[in-house]
Amino acid sequence: AIGKSKLIRDGESVLVGVSGGQASSCLLHLIQEGLSGRAHKKLRFKPGLVFIDEGATIGMSAEERLANCTQVLEIMEKTGFPCYLKALEQAMELEKEAFTNTADQTDTASVTSVENLTKLHRYDKAEEELLALMDSLKSVSAKEDLIKSLRQKILIDLALKKGYSKVMLGDCSTRLAVQLLTDIAQGRGAHVAMDTAFADNRCNDITIVRPIRDFSSKEVAMFNILNNVPSVFIPRITTKAADSVSIEHLTERFVTGLQAEYPSTTSNIMRTGEKLHTEKKSSSENQCAICQAPLDTDVPPSSALSAVRFSETVSRCSSVTLSIFSTDTACCGGGTCQSEGQKESECCGQGDGSCQSKESKLTRDEVESALCYACRLLIKDLGDVSKLPKHILDDISQRQRRTKMKSEIEDFLLDPSNTPD
């Protein structure tokens, strides 16, 4: 698949995300084989490996996390490529600009020996923030979704900082088929193509690549057994949980169950995904702040999104305010609104203009306007919007300011498509 797409040039630096599981170990093995001289078609890129420790999400103790990291690092070090170790809580304190924070450089330096693992304890504050965020999300589906987004953010951030132009992920076809259905179930239909395609270019500079997307998980397991590829099993948030605890878990059970009876299920799903594509919007303002995908909330009046908004209005506001309902407002905006979710503004209460506090807090509506449909559902689950990682909130604040700026100068902006010359 790598050769077919001609995406990866010779000598390019590629960051490989290793989770320690079967699929990514298989990918690692294949990369090693491909890079060594014996290979039939030599792969020619320079890989770096990264492992993200997600132990914080399931409340693993520090020793357990250390043990897991050690195991994975051993596997990674055998390959001889530069290895990095990151923890999920670092996503809470990512900085956008790559040139600030030289202090961060030491965190992400190559981990060459196991002793460096004591650094895990340094992220306590971030860990607390992450735990608070996780706790305030009520449903497991939302938690999983958020973990996935944070993971991607870390990978992309690391790639940007270290000068990698591509990120490689080890997703096999079964996993991607489940991902596709989960995306549809969460309202991410517009991003389905990006999530399951070979090349995912939602961020302007970094491309995410999925080389083993054509192999089913059974094939991967078989390959690992035949070639003695070591892998580490690390429990996730939904391991051994009840079936319907989260959307992804349910979908996994559904797809594997269907696959047993109709063997062509996963390949059908993958083929459908291949035929779809996502429109790429040009500026970064049209990207969702959490998942970096293009916003899909620009919809005509007859659509699911406006139907949902209308339902909420109709059910929550009195019929009097219904007459002033317009499709622009998420809520009727009137003071008679009684729903609990809408009153969650962290503002000091004086309204946006005269806010005296130093940190301007974002209201829930403002946050929502910068998110895609599915991430809005995530936010709905969240009790307190300010618990989101700081860089996301900063991003949204910046967008708000730019929107205000734009509306002031709107009359004088020339639309490039209107001017013929």
């Binding site: 269907l258 059908n268 949902v308």
Partner: protein
């Protein structure tokens, strides 16, 4: 402490499945009707002076649809003439009971009613079809035939538009099912609120954003009368898997149904993908993406004793056909070479001998052997497997 209704001060008697808000009876009616009204006005479904046929099966969706449309038509003055249209598939124990309900509806709402049946249109009832084909792919026949039957009945009543009671759950199931089946063409079309505008009558789904549970709640509280059994042939349908999945999803996150519809609406297909183009059927003039429409193919298969003609992979059918011919060759004295069966012309000639020996004639047109050859040729040319996913009715 009794929970108060969100909108007025009365005590709440139900919780809306869609948004989880507590409402009292009248506010629920209001919310429900307003939502349907908004769906209709946003999509500009109705034009003043049109005649609109309501596809009435006697089930909950169509009963509530008839009631609500009549009420909204009076309240907001859409200016449309409503009529009821019902299809009799010939399933004993299911359809004859539900037809009684439709007749009662007609009297209650005072709307004209027309019933069309498979027997008079095609010469086959669903019971007979199931006897031939078994329980696994019978939904294909029923769905394809019903679509045509609705159109034919509507033309007889001089109707401008058909509305059906498909609700949000149905559309979500359809999206999932099309993804699982890999049917890109249908996937694009299935979330549109109005389908089939070229050549055939437009069909709209005003209940596109209403949950099934809310429809049931509405009917329950308003004490509307409907027939509530599942079709006796449905348990083995592929749709059942998608339905079970959606029911489970709804338990985890009630808004999942609308989310799936939103996903479906936001899907966009790559331009390079080849989608089936629409033409007309050569035999009956109905809209079709192949030279012969699906209904004609299915019907031919039934009449010839090859019930699986329109279903499944065509090369398997060809193989079966060749086996049948090989057997006939031993019995008769015809010289047909099974090896050359891949050639179109060879097959056509062998088909001619087969049809000659079995002395069958086309039901719909009297050309005898020729149209069958045409059809086999079409099947051989038909590379794309159009799976029996019935959506478009």
């Amino acid at each position: 402490m009794p929970i108060k209704c969100n909108l007025c001060e009365a005590g709440a008697i139900l919780k809306r499945p869609k948004t989880g808000d507590a409402l009292c009876k009248n506010c629920f009616y209001f919310a429900f009707e307003e939502e349907v009204h908004k769906t209709i006005t946003d999509a500009n479904l109705f034009v003043r002076g049109e005649t609109v046929a309501i596809g009435a099966s006697g089930g909950k969706d169509s009963t509530v649809l008839a009631y609500v449309l009549k009420a909204l038509n009076q309240r907001y003055d859409y200016g449309v003439n409503l009529v009821l249209l019902s299809v009799d598939e010939g399933i004993t124990g299911y359809r004859d009971d539900s037809l009684e309900t439709v007749k009662r509806n007609q009297q209650q709402y005072d709307l004209p009613l027309k019933i069309v049946s498979y027997e008079e249109l095609y010469g086959w009832t669903m019971d007979a079809i199931v006897k031939q084909i078994g329980l696994k792919n019978n939904c294909t026949f029923c769905g394809v035939f019903r679509r045509q039957a609705l159109d034919r009945g509507a033309i007889l009543m001089k109707v401008d538009r058909i509305v059906t009671g498909h609700n949000a759950d149905d559309i979500a199931e359809t999206v999932i099912m099309n993804v699982l089946r890999g049917d890109i063409g249908r996937l694009q079309r299935c979330t549109a609120i109005t389908t089939g505008t070229e050549g055939a009558l437009p069909r709209s789904k005003p209940f596109k954003y209403t949950y099934e549970k809310e429809i049931v709640m509405y009917a329950y509280f308003k004490k509307l009368d409907y027939f509530s059994t599942e079709c006796i042939y449905s348990p083995n349908a592929y749709r059942g898997f998608a339905r079970a999945y959606i029911k489970d999803l709804e338990k985890i996150r009630p808004s999942a149904i609308i989310d799936i519809i939103h996903s479906g609406e936001s899907l966009s297909v790559k331009k390079a993908v080849k989608l089936p183009t629409q033409g007309t059927c050569e035999r009956c003039g109905y809209i079709s993406s192949n030279p012969l429409c699906k209904a004609c193919i299915l019907l031919e298969g039934l009449n010839r004793g090859l019930p699986r003609l329109g279903i499944g992979k065509s090369h398997k059918e060809r193989r079966k056909l060749n086996e049948m011919l090989a057997q006939k060759e031993e019995a008769g004295n015809e010289k047909t070479t099974p090896d050359n069966s891949r050639e179109t012309t060879e097959n056509a000639s062998s088909e001619k001998s087969a049809s000659g020996s079995s002395k069958q004639k086309c039901e719909n047109c009297s050309c005898g052997q020729k149209c069958l050859a045409e059809k086999v040729e079409d099947l051989q040319l038909d590379r794309r497997k159009i799976d029996p996913a019935l959506i478009d009715f």
